[in-house]
Symmetry: C2
Subunit: 407 residues, 2 copies
């Protein structure tokens, strides 16, 4: 008998029929003799509807009150789902964030879990009850309700799995698992049986929005066995773990696309020490997160620095740079927000120079220009024009995942 | 500077505009230098919508989960209203039942407040914040969410006023105050400036649904000064207190109508001891509440016992009596659920036999037959045919509240 934490997202509990489906999955697991703790998100568009209600009243509502408001969504889901489970003849109980002992810091709307007091959950499990916990929420030391930010229910589930020493944490979603590329847009994309935490982290941060990054980081830190699977198909999903049985050849797990990118180029910087520090401390002060940073030598002894930020931050990043152009000492600031980041991710990559080469070759064959390149231990990313993005993903995917299997 | 508890019902917070209106009333009170604790109900039909959602999934959902579900409605109201207050430039904070320290027993869906831990509210008031508390809800000793039952927000407000030793508890609603009869159906009905707790209790239990009875009982017990007033008109309302300045003549406060009545008559009972006990213990076992009880001597030495119950309980009460007819020893059981109870309420009534007489005379003049009569210290009730009910109220009201003022 195992202890299994299951998480169901908003689309999995969107209406009465879907809630009944979730209740069926939960009770089937329970019937096999397992203890089950299920974490639920708010139904479908509930959170967006509540945000809209708040905006109508006060577009600058305090984050404390927003959290108070939004946390009702998950509370509705869990109580309704317990009712569905009760109807099937099983004993279940719903617990809000505070009842489940989810203690967080006080960063309203983006709180971090500090500790979980598991006594109450444990007590209910001991009574053989199925326990449903409201995802996305907790309380801080003042007993005020906090939320973990969008996608926070994944984090709630993994944190609970860690705190309860669960044998498995299943993340139910509307896709069958983690794919080699987005199956909705890339021909031939296929599901992976397993993937490492690190690969999953790169894929998540690169725009393959299957799992919330914080949840994968937490799973890696506490060595929680994750499984991503569909609440609709019943098919086996993708296992996310520390080490996977790789084939001997270089393993590329997937191709990801991220359009939420803008590139800033600082052209003609004087070549003196401390410039990079100055640039990125200015951005940090404005709470602008920087992704890729590249520095190259310019023609006349000057140098260029380029970096990418989230697209929404593009204009502001450019303005900050313009305002400080004299301090930084650069000739011009250029912004390009019509770009996309295409990446391949795979554990063995660093040891095989041929992988990056193969990617560039695929793009060249498709006539796609590369704007910027960045590599790490387990990924290669390139920036391309946004209008080439989908073709680029398809070309790279075709090259690595042909009909004979992995490269 | 006073401490004022204000309660706003569901129709007062039904949409964004109405929430802004409530925020305006609250901040105007605060601007006058008062400390304000406001208790809010769920918006408009929210509670009914949630009940419908639950019913779709499980018509026999456990009460614990229903309370978990329904308590979200008030949480949404208070957070939205705080946002509206914030926008007006004031500091406010919303507190759920558990955060506000509303400790109840464990009777889910009909919980009773046992104690209020006021520390948190007091702390926020000390910081000069306006405090908004979710009505209708609390927690029991297991830290589970409970609700106080329909109309429970009135009770929340009065209980808070008592625990905080508030100077005044204002119940805002969609009518201007307490009227001599229902102003929507009775010509010439007029608003009372003041009324005693006891009169209010009789009026509430007699079908004038202005205030929840439990809240009036609690106000009487803890001597909380109540005021019933409209959140829309801005007019002064009705004061509810221990003693009011009565005019010297007998005072009739109002005429009430209650259609939620069914009458059971047990005809031809043998005249032996213990019969009444047997009858009403049978009903108590079935959780059927009895209102009026009348016993009369029959013609042949036998006696008749009649009693009224809520209309929904009528059929079941009749069945229970039929099943036990031999034990009880009566000739026949008759049910009449096409009746209504018309009552006049007034503090001085017991000392003036003429009051009841005047009522009977008014009904006689209108050609309305009286089915059953019951009197107490401060009220006279009669049962009439349901189809005569509205005419009966008008006739009695005309008789007591003519154009020259009170009787």
């Amino acid at each position: 008998m195992a202890l299994i934490v299951q998480k169901f997202g908003g689309s999995s509990v969107a209406d009465a029929d879907k809630i009944r489906n979730v209740a069926r999955i939960i009770t089937e697991t329970y019937r096999k003799g397992h203890s089950v703790v299920a974490v639920l998100s708010a139904q479908g568009d509930t959170t967006d509807d509540l945000i809209e209600k708040a905006r109508e009243i006060n577009p600058k509502a305090s984050k404390r009150e927003m959290d108070m408001l939004l946390s009702t969504g998950e509370q509705i889901s869990i109580s309704l789902c317990v009712m569905a489970i009760e109807r099937m003849g099983y004993q279940a109980i719903s617990l809000t964030g505070w009842q489940a002992g989810m203690l967080t810091d006080s960063a309203y709307s983006a709180a971090r879990i500090k500790r979980i007091r598991t006594e109450r959950i444990q007590k209910e499990l001991d009574k053989k009850k199925i326990v449903l916990v409201a995802g996305f929420q907790g309380i801080n030391k003042y007993d005020d309700v906090t939320t973990l930010g969008r996608g926070g229910s994944d984090t709630s589930a993994v944190a609970l799995a860690a705190a309860l020493h669960a044998d498995l944490c299943q993340i139910y979603t509307d896709v069958d698992g983690v794919y080699t590329a987005d199956p909705r847009t890339v021909r031939g994309a296929r599901k992976l049986d397993e993937i490492t935490y690190d690969e999953m982290l790169e894929l998540a941060s690169l725009g393959a929005q299957v799992l919330h990054n914080r949840s994968v980081e937490m799973a890696k830190r506490y060595n929680v066995n994750l499984e991503v699977l569909s609440s609709f198909s019943g098919n086996p999903g993708t296992q996310v773990k520390e080490v996977v049985k790789h084939m001997e050849k270089t393993h590329v797990s997937g191709v990801a696309k991220d359009k939420n990118v803008a590139r800033i180029a600082l052209v003609g910087l004087e070549d003196r020490p401390g410039i990079a520090f100055k640039i990125f401390s200015l951005l940090a002060k404005e709470n602008i997160n920087v992704d890729i940073i590249l520095q190259s030598i310019g023609r006349d002894g000057s140098k260029d620095i380029s970096f990418t930020v989230a697209r929404d931050d593009g204009q502001r990043a450019r303005e900050v740079m313009e305002e400080n152009r004299e301090v930084i000492g650069c000739r011009s600031v250029e912004l390009n927000d019509q770009i996309a980041k295409i990446s391949i991710v795979g554990a063995g990559m660093a040891h095989n120079a041929g992988v990056a080469c193969k990617m560039f070759e695929a793009l060249y064959s498709a006539g796609i220009n590369i704007n910027m390149i960045s590599t790490s231990e387990i990924k290669v990313s390139v920036l391309v024009d946004e209008r080439d993005a989908d073709r680029a993903v398809q070309a790279v995917h075709d090259r690595f995942f042909d009909e004979f299997g992995n490269a």
